[in-house]
């Protein structure tokens, strides 16, 4: 655990939205895979494999951004829960000693 704990819900939420947006870019995005052109050699198959590799890359990066979003959401939820738990664990108010 770091020496200090400083979390900001607004920052976490904004960052999570940023990663969610990044995930969405890669998931849908503008790129639609075109058919591979006919070639003389095995290039067509290699090009097709390569384009599929790029699609896999996009999906992997989308997943990675999505998992960052989930991690941030988790931190947000856990920190709120932790805060609530700490609050619950604290005494409700000042306890006054009985008068002698």
């Amino acid at each position: 655990m770091s020496e200090n704990l400083q979390l900001n819900d607004a920052v976490l939420e904004s960052a999570a939205r940023g990663f969610a947006s990044a995930a969405e870019v890669m998931r849908s995005g503008a790129a639609k895979r075109p058919p591979t052109p006919a070639t003389l050699s095995a290039l067509r198959a290699e090009l097709d494999l390569y384009l599929r590799g790029l699609a896999v890359s996009r999906a992997a990066l989308s997943d990675a951004a999505h998992s960052a979003t989930l991690a941030l959401a988790d931190i947000l939820a856990q920190s709120a829960e932790l805060d609530a738990e700490i609050a619950a664990a604290l005494p409700a108010g000042f306890v006054l000693g009985e008068a002698p």
């Binding site: 655990m1 770091s2 020496e3 200090n4 704990l5 400083q6 979390l7 900001n8 920052v11 976490l12 904004s14 960052a15 999570a16 939205r17 940023g18 990663f19 947006s21 990044a22 870019v25 890669m26 995005g29 503008a30 790129a31 639609k32 895979r33 075109p34 058919p35 591979t36 052109p37 006919a38 070639t39 003389l40 050699s41 095995a42 290039l43 290699e46 090009l47 494999l49 390569y50 384009l51 590799g53 790029l54 896999v56 890359s57 996009r58 999906a59 992997a60 990066l61 997943d63 990675a64 951004a65 999505h66 998992s67 960052a68 989930l70 991690a71 941030l72 931190i75 856990q78 920190s79």
Partner: protein, 691 residues
Amino acid sequence: MGAAGRPVPPSVGVLLRGTPRAGTVEEINAVSQYLTNVRYDAVQYVTAARPAQEAIAGLESAAVERLHARLGRGLFPGVAALEDSADEAKSAVQSYAAQVAEIHREADQVWASAERALGSIAAALQSIAQICDVIAAPFSYSWDTPPPAALPEPRLRAGAGPADTAGVAELISGLRDGYRTRWLNTVLEWQLELAEVRRCVRRWSELQEERLLCEGAVAERLGRTSVGELITVGAGMPGGRRRAIAVGLTGEIGGVRAGIRTTRTFHPELRELLDSADGAKVWDAPPAPAFVAEKWAGLDESVREELIRSVPWVIGNLPGLLPSVRDRANRELVAFYREYPQTLTPEQLTLVAEAQRILDDEARQRSPKPPIQVLAFDLSGPVPRAAIGYGDLDTSSHTTFQAAGMGSDAHTALPTWDVAARNLYEAQEALLPRFEGGGPGVVAWLGYDTPAMLPNSEVFRSDSASLGAGRLAAELDGMAAAREAADAGLPAIGVVAHSYGTTMAAIALTKTKHPVDSFVMLGSAGLDTEAVPSLGSLNVRELTPGQLAVFATSAARDRLAPTGAAQAERGLPTPDARALLGLEQRVPVYGGVIAFSSEGDPARGLKGTDGHSFVGAGKTAGIAGMTASAGRGYGDNETQALDTTARATTGLIAGPDGLDLVVTEAQPVVKIVDKHTGYVGQWRMPAERND
């Protein structure tokens, strides 16, 4: 009229076999556009994710810090790799589109021209047939064999002409005058059109070759991108490509963090082999190879297997073990890195992909020619190192280590040295008698951190050479020790070095215990005169009494190597090496080297070397011979340099006689002090002549 010869083909397609046309430029451009879009998406991705990463950097929490670090290690380098890959692929595809457009355009022209020429030939054929009919000459011409230019002697059909001789002569003369010019013009046109058809057939075939070359270049460029390398690394395993790409780019698969293992160097059983359970030092400070060979021979089979599987980096890189043993361990190592691509730097990934490509090529052959052995594979440092064997190094009769020079770190140089090693292997195989001994074995040795390319000044110092020399010396002695211990017979061991590799290899040969049988220097960048004061310092066998088997050549047009040697004040092994500005006169020449020509020998069909490269590329050599053109490097097929190298390393040169071999005379340098400025320089003294 009776046409007995072959008629004009009914279609151009009969002559223009195959096709250089495939697909459309529009389809290729659509792929290029897709790649542009992928790159654009990558930029958009970063635009969305980067501020998010920067925002959480300001928070203080262990969980956030871990996430931040994870993003820095995986997600951002991953998207950068995707962006670069898409960019490089787009550039390759765009070039390809332009080339295809040009090939298609020319193919259309060739087709149309051949069609037109065939039409003209058909007309000529018909015209000649008509003339033959009129002059009663035999007609037996094929479309591709035009008749002679001279009109055949006209004749008259029986009963068709006048009865008197004078009348006949007059009629024949009339026919001759009437058709001679038409005949001649028709034949000339026929010949020209036939030449055009032949040109079209030749060009059609060339266009197909050019198209295949273009396609090969695109495939190669795709394969050298990060995504391409991950595709190679993941090939052959179920779901391997998808996993390699996902894990290699992001360290995750399906949003789940991929586990990481590291290569181990510790195993209790290593004590039996190294006198230590930790094998971390086997690359830089390996134990004596003879000791290793002896200890390995005494281990139980089960222990050997356990070590190969558990500590492959140690066993794979341990001089003194048989190449087949090291190969097994190193293949385990390559497989390990394929499993964990997220642990690799871009340089390491490149080397793993290249090694895998070589192994995949081997696996595709039913009887690999030559078989491959991964003799060394090390990704422990920032610069990856490797040595790939070609042939069966356990049984080879001749084993040659090829050492690379400046700018030849394993990850960048393996493709070139893969070609070079195969070239030498084939050249040696052609020279060695079949069925005698174990045949050749060649090692592409890329086992050191080579100095960077100029203008970096590392190449002028011997630091890299000294570091590499220790390792090469261990490998050379290791090969001898392993073969000796296995009772497999000692091969003739040779060292072939290029450029700065000669600087390194020469130092290595001052450190070995086992003498090598030959040492060949190609385009030497000079030898360190302190480490190697004379050839007598080199542990190389004698060819004849007093004559070491040390060979060297420097191509006349290679001005780079001698200039580098002069700048570094290193001695040259050949007196005729010419540096820029005559700088070679500042450094000494070693005596006793067998110098040979690399200028080519047309009588034997051998080409000359026209630049410094080991494997040439491009249409022309570089300025001052900085690079060699395609097929004209020192290690290219059918060059005089490769031919003599193959002969020298297979023991087919018994002495300095023949093949234009000359033994060099030592030319030392003298110090010259300018009494006005105090500047101290040095200048070469000409060789002393006894005649």
